[in-house]
């Protein structure tokens, strides 16, 4: 079985977001780039499954759509334990554009299980995984919080509103994963970093694709007014303020 993990190259979570002067784009200068946190958990689970049963999971491939500047993030995924990497040479665009690029590179390739994080920490779209599944005409299960493979059978737990379901499906399938799929992300070892340099990284040309949406501009979120401090001995005041001033209870 071959597992493909889709990787989004995103600014580090603690990045302060800066904008161009006209507020039409984000200023990425000086940003530290990381593997999107959910994709990192997906990759971790793929590596755990391969380590547990190398006869069943033969290969883990990571893929991203982006410019050459996304390659260090792919190398990090290789250092964590992926076997090879694909970069579709297509930067920018919306979720439909990105999913089309991934589908173009993946179509016809023998991937049995495709893992995508449930959202990316930049545009928080939650869209590429489902779009990729539809473009490939594969089944998909979303909000997956556990994954086990047995032969050709794929067993997952899916979170539902207020509960969870245990689900069995079969490959090929796209699984859109969330927290719980793995607990602590894999950190590359020194040996992993060394071997990652020589692992294959294939660059695929972009496909012709039209985006369905575009960013018009950005705004900083509205500033919160200063926090009103309340005497810990006077909880009646808190209740009074929430009741009469904020009117939320």
């Amino acid at each position: 079985m071959n597992i493909l993990v889709c990787i989004s190259n995103v600014p580090d979570t603690t990045t302060r977001i800066k904008y161009s002067a006209d507020m039409k784009s984000v200023d990425y200068s000086g940003v530290q780039w990381i593997i999107n946190p959910w994709d990192e958990l997906a990759l971790t689970r793929a590596i755990e499954l391969k380590e547990a049963n190398p006869a069943l999971v033969q290969k883990i491939t990571v893929i991203t759509a982006g410019g050459a500047d996304a390659e260090p993030t792919l190398r990090k995924a290789l250092a964590c334990g992926a076997d090879d990497a694909i970069r579709v040479d297509a930067a920018g665009g919306d979720s439909l554009f990105t999913a089309t690029q991934l589908a173009h590179a993946v179509k016809g390739e023998p991937f049995d299980v495709i893992l995508c994080g449930i959202e990316s920490s930049d545009y928080n779209g939650s869209a590429v995984g489902g779009m990729l599944a539809e473009l490939l005409d594969y089944n998909s299960v979303s909000a997956v919080s556990s994954l086990n493979l047995e032969g050709n059978s794929v067993k997952v737990t899916r979170e539902i509103d207020g509960g969870k379901q245990s689900i069995e499906t079969s490959a090929p399938v796209v699984l859109i994963v969330q927290k719980g799929i793995a607990i602590n992300p894999r950190i590359p070892s020194m040996r992993g970093i060394m071997t990652a340099r020589t692992k294959p990284l294939k660059v695929v040309a972009a496909a012709a694709a039209a985006p369905g949406s575009k960013v018009v501009g950005y705004q900083a979120p509205p500033q919160k007014s200063a926090c009103k401090m309340i005497d810990p001995e006077n909880m009646d005041e808190l209740v009074h303020l929430l009741h009469t001033e904020a009117r939320v209870i």
Partner: protein, 320 residues
């Protein structure tokens, strides 16, 4: 320009969030000068469907099936309903189901998708919507440029409006729905207020010190009719279940009132709570970053503050 809204049911019932979504769909249809059609998949009694008339529902398509949520099959039904009703805008909730289905529907309709939209569009022509980006650190405006458009609505951002009118229910054939997945078992928590639907959320962090200290927090939640939640270290320590984790990699909530008790306010946690209308923070450290995100703050020890707080709310509830 007509609008199709997919309405999810939970064991045949709708929730408050459904009313918000329907009334949002009605306002969009009015803004576009078109009509609103709803699509329900599953088994919902006609009366339950017709109740949505008060929120602006006109025509309701009811696709009756016992098939469990299968992303591919459900998305195909929604896309067919959109095509058959001539909808140019498809709307879903930005919840677990909407996140699963909207991207597939968008591909089927060759439509641009913007998810987690905050409220009504900034403009209809061109069609520009607003949403949070970078996990709440930025607001972004995006234009959907395709002929057919798909959006998902962030809960509790549009509010509920009522409309005069009656809903008419039509059956939609769902016999072609097959399922590529096999649901082996379903576990649903009962008797608890769902985090996703709660108006008030009481959340505890590492400052609660141990799993044994959750009782006073649950008491406060009980008095307020609130859902309970926690920060990441708490669920990682196993003090509380993972589904209660609120934050960037956990759940994103948007209640009217959020209590952050013993939560320092790491940026990952703030990403999950920044859409809350009012935030109350209790922390023993006056420098904790949570106070810059909070509306009301109390510097103090939870073990003494929490019971007093609960008592004060109990008095208010008893008097109202």
């Amino acid at each position: 320009m007509s609008v199709l809204v997919y309405i999810e049911n939970w064991n045949g019932k709708f929730k408050k969030s459904t009313c918000e979504l329907v009334s949002y769909g009605k306002r969009l249809a009015n803004g576009l000068g078109g009509s609103l059609t709803l699509l329900s998949i599953g088994r919902v009694a006609e009366d339950e469907l017709k109740n949505l008339g008060a929120y602006g529902a006109g025509k309701i398509l009811s696709a009756e099936t016992d098939a469990p949520l299968d992303d591919k099959a459900y998305a195909s039904l929604i896309a067919s309903a959109a095509q058959n009703s001539g909808a140019t805008l498809v709307v879903m909730a930005h919840n677990v189901t909407g996140k699963a289905l909207a991207p597939r529907v968008a591909v089927r309709l060759n439509a641009g998708l913007v998810s987690a939209v905050n409220g009504l569009p900034v403009s209809y022509q061109p069609f520009v919507v607003s949403k949070k980006a970078f996990s709440g650190k930025s607001l972004m405006q995006a234009e959907i440029t395709s002929d057919i458009k798909v959006i998902t609505l962030s809960q509790n951002t549009a509010g509920i409006e009522t409309f005069a009118g009656n809903a008419a229910v039509e059956t939609m054939d769902a016999s072609a729905v097959t399922s590529g997945i096999n649901v082996l078992s379903t576990e649903v928590q009962t008797g608890k207020i769902l985090l996703s639907e709660a108006d008030v959320v009481v959340s505890g962090g590492r400052g609660m010190r141990s799993a044994d200290n959750w009782k006073p927090l649950e008491e406060l939640a009980g008095v307020l009719g609130a859902a309970t939640a926690c920060s990441r270290p708490v669920s990682d320590e196993g003090w509380r279940p993972h589904h209660e984790h609120v934050g960037q990699t956990g759940k994103v909530v948007a209640p009217n009132l959020y209590f952050a008790l013993g939560i320092s306010g790491a940026i990952q946690h703030l990403a999950g709570i920044s859409s809350s209308k009012v935030i109350v923070a209790v922390n023993k450290d006056p420098e904790a970053p949570i106070f810059s995100a909070a509306d009301y703050g109390i510097v103090g020890d939870l073990q003494t503050v929490l019971p007093k707080m609960t008592e004060a709310f109990r008095k208010l509830k008893a008097s109202s």
